[in-house]
Symmetry: C2
Subunit: 665 residues, 2 copies
Amino acid sequence: MKTFSVKFLPDDKTVQATAGKSVLEAAIVAGIPINSVCGGDGVCGKCRVIVKSGQVEAEPNVFLTRREIQRGMALACRTFIQGDLVIEVPLESRVGGVPQLASEDAVRFGRISERVGEGAVFARNPLCRKEYLELSAPCLDDNISDQERLYRELRQRRDLPIMQMGLAILQKLPDLLRKSDWKATALLGHRGGTTEVMDVEAGNTSQKQLGIALDVGTTTVVAHLVDLQSSETLATQAKYNSQISLGDDVISRIMYSSTDTRRKQLRDLIVNDINDLIAGLMMASKVRLHDVTYIVCAGNTTMVHLLLGLDPANIRRDPYVPCVSLPPAIRAVEIGIKINPRGLLLALPSVSSYVGGDVVADVLVTGMTDSPDLSLLIDMGTNGELVIGNAEWLVCCSASAGPAFEGGGITCGMRATRGAIEHLTLSAGGAIAEVSIVGGGKPLGICGSGLIDAIAELLRNGCIDRRGRFVETACGGKLREAESGEPEIVLFPGDQTALGKDIVLTEADINNFIHSKGAIYMAAECLMAHVDLSFNDLKHVYIAGGFGNYLNIERGVEIGLLPDIERQKFHFVGNGSVQGAKIVLLSRDALAYVQTRIADAMTYFELSSDHKYMNEYSSCLFLPHTNIEKFPSLRNKIGAGGGTPAAAPSAGPRRSATAGSARRK
Amino acid sequence: MKTFSVKFLPDDKTVQATAGKSVLEAAIVAGIPINSVCGGDGVCGKCRVIVKSGQVEAEPNVFLTRREIQRGMALACRTFIQGDLVIEVPLESRVGGVPQLASEDAVRFGRISERVGEGAVFARNPLCRKEYLELSAPCLDDNISDQERLYRELRQRRDLPIMQMGLAILQKLPDLLRKSDWKATALLGHRGGTTEVMDVEAGNTSQKQLGIALDVGTTTVVAHLVDLQSSETLATQAKYNSQISLGDDVISRIMYSSTDTRRKQLRDLIVNDINDLIAGLMMASKVRLHDVTYIVCAGNTTMVHLLLGLDPANIRRDPYVPCVSLPPAIRAVEIGIKINPRGLLLALPSVSSYVGGDVVADVLVTGMTDSPDLSLLIDMGTNGELVIGNAEWLVCCSASAGPAFEGGGITCGMRATRGAIEHLTLSAGGAIAEVSIVGGGKPLGICGSGLIDAIAELLRNGCIDRRGRFVETACGGKLREAESGEPEIVLFPGDQTALGKDIVLTEADINNFIHSKGAIYMAAECLMAHVDLSFNDLKHVYIAGGFGNYLNIERGVEIGLLPDIERQKFHFVGNGSVQGAKIVLLSRDALAYVQTRIADAMTYFELSSDHKYMNEYSSCLFLPHTNIEKFPSLRNKIGAGGGTPAAAPSAGPRRSATAGSARRK
């Protein structure tokens, strides 16, 4: 096979690639983080690159305008190498920067230190912990084996009926105990009814017990370094999940992971991400990697499968069976994660293929299972998960919202990273009144919370009607026809933006967004109906998920994303995954609780076989809803486009380019 | 460093060795099994080789006669390479052939199949077993994870509260279950309170469940292949422990194992032996290695340490502390043993540094702990172990007997392999009346049981007195002066032997043997005194150990090795190690029994700090004893040398060249 060199700019990285490989494949090898929502299927149009020189074979596509093609622009996944190349990867095509994070301890329902500790909900008793031992030296009257001596001392302190010790530890034990004058620290792992002596160190190292709480999200990966004795968070790090280059959402990644090689590739990407984060934590906190002995991670079912190298294929095939829902605690090194080589990694249990350990963590953090009050949890993301219940019962469901909340499928959409418009207010005619940009400076694009603001404000000002169509007369000359022929409104002209390109919102963008918000609202309504209750019975609504914290509740209600109930009932969870992982990291009682009281107790309600969901979904494709009676507080607020429309715009949930229906996005 | 080639004859194997290395080291590299009782310390004189050509540097020694040195004979461990060499290894210096084995199911106290099974002492429930499962295929109403589906089916059959499954099994599970149409066989391992799904195979493989019972002896290694379902023994194999080249007894091997490299070397030798035996079992039985999933081994504490790669150094240092007495079940592959890669290896628990899993196995096999009758077990070997007790209590002790029972320290001594004189009768004047040779043919040397016969017969015929000294007048001209100047009797002249050399017995040989038998008898007497009982209180005496089965009880009593009680109280255990390992292999109830009712229940009595042992030992250095009243049945039988001697020949237990006193041989 002929090979060519491919140089990527502005990184100035060159790799060798065989003829016929795609530019995207070469970029992955080179470690260039190119955005690819669809995972290389040529259907999202996000992986734009500029071919500066060299010969390529490009498939035709609908995403690039004539002018763009003339400028050398191409889709990396549909452009195949036929010679030595120089490729520029523009800013908007890169997965990069540091994700915007929820405030570190955004647990509004009791800080971690209040939730775990003596006299708190959960005792501080990590599954993996150290114990300093001063053993009596052996003599003729007491010459039991070294192993028994250690066990005996441990058993004098606690009830540990079944003990285990691996060969590697036994092999070093005699020398270590004698050289350390019989003073040593045992690293204990409590699993099932068994206590494993995972390691033994000379002297007293019990002051150094560190763990990592990990949120393995489809989009972002967040790691907190935690002192297991003080519960203190010593450092935090976050980055985008590098698997994004192989697919933006779980379904495209499952589709990509069809071979052993590809599953290994996906696993290597996330493992490298985690190792990068850990290296960052070590830098920031100046602790030794050796002292990190325990990781608890929360992620959706697919992310956990990919992390553990398990085949996720059956997650998306009827009847949606995961390989595992209660993953075993493994040695982190088994999957290549670099902490203490004896250290454990535990993934929180999941409920089903579509309700994962991340949602279980959210529920733990809210404390909704400790209360008789009825609560609803909404985790908003590409996949929306909803949980309703209280201390007695829990029912959950999952709905595919599509990528709009993460900026996907939106012309100028982007994730909530530097340069994203996170909030805005419009005045009459659609002119910007106030704007807030992540990290300050000129805007680069618009993220989920900004989009909600924009659409709510356009609706308030009458620039769009309740079907999401532009009302030309109200748009004050900001409306124009896009190259595609559809109408679009210019929010920021090019001279005010970071890339010099206009930031616009098209009618298709608004329609995509309406489908996303409609999927979440409809799921909530069906879930309420399923348990025979109404929104007014709710005492609390918890908002979790990527952009949850930045959501403006009032505007969320105005566009029909959130139910129209008293605003003070809404609470933000923050990053529930990492907070939940942290609680479990500190307390194995919390692990038992998560398993028995949350994961095992939760009933999964299958939306895709629910008639109401299928039949009434289209009534949600309005702002806020075809039936305004469902939003009583808004009746007098809605602008010019009001009134009940004659016909629903489409029947049944939308099928996005990358995915299927309802749950099987 | 200069290297030379060393060729070994008659094997015709050549290896490269650096200048200054010993011929013994080169032989070990070449895999030539040279006898070395002392482990290369130059004190046993057993590693004789003939330098056929080439330059060596040899240290002077007392073991070779002038004539032998002139013939090119040298000690391999004291002869250092200075040029290209051709070395001949004579037959008497080789560790070779197949050890003589106790009859396969020499359990006289109930065959294995009677002892394990439905309604027997132990239920047939191996720790490691297979279970065939027909799972229901998942559907939308029942879409629990693949792992849970497997667990659920297993739990419907048995009470298995805590289940585990490793990542490797999870990774293959989804594909395997679907391709096998949800029919699969789980390989289960029951450890502590936890059940591990060790492997899952497609279809029904539950008919193929094999295990290996292993006796890892200091001298011999014996392996039995067992069908775990029928309890049937499918094949047996035995060979000498190749570690013999690095030391004949446990103490010299512990001394040798002073570095990581040497410990690895020792481990590799025994692991290779075990793999050789397993290969032999596979050949003989035509089964697949894959179906062997479980090994139970019994060995003394040092052998188990060396097998597991654990440092045995503290076993021989006061206060004699082993690293482990209850070794964990490990994957056999962890130490390089080749069975099913998921298969387990379990070593039977030991009581102390000097009472190992081999003795625990003996006790299990005798059934002495099931009975109210008082029993004494004597395991005779280089190290003698004695256990007294019944269902209520157990006391054990250990005494160093020295290598005489294995033919060590005896001029023409050898192990009980082909060519060994195992039994003989003498007529007046010391002439051979009857003789039995292992394997038939001409004799090569004399093994332990033959030695007992020879000494008992010499005593009967008055050729030696009760101190073991030759009575010249009774020896009919067979007595002569050896090159060393001491008297020796010629049992077989050279023209009747395999090597053409006279087979003789020297006064030193007899003295060495008397020290060995005295150590065992004295240990038994002290043990009785310690529990305040006498030999007449015994209901049973069980004889175990290498040469135990070939012992003539009457002669054993006559020379004062065994106590003078009714002969029908004596029983032979056979190879208790392999039989005990087999019972545990078939029943995890037996494992629990061994641990709680035998190993944990046994009190260790330290002979080396017992005054009686130290003070009265010398009275045992007679045939049978200085106090003939202790052997009432013999009073009228003893020959010419009778009468109570005036003085004890030496005070305190003998120190052998390779070892210390009493217990710390």
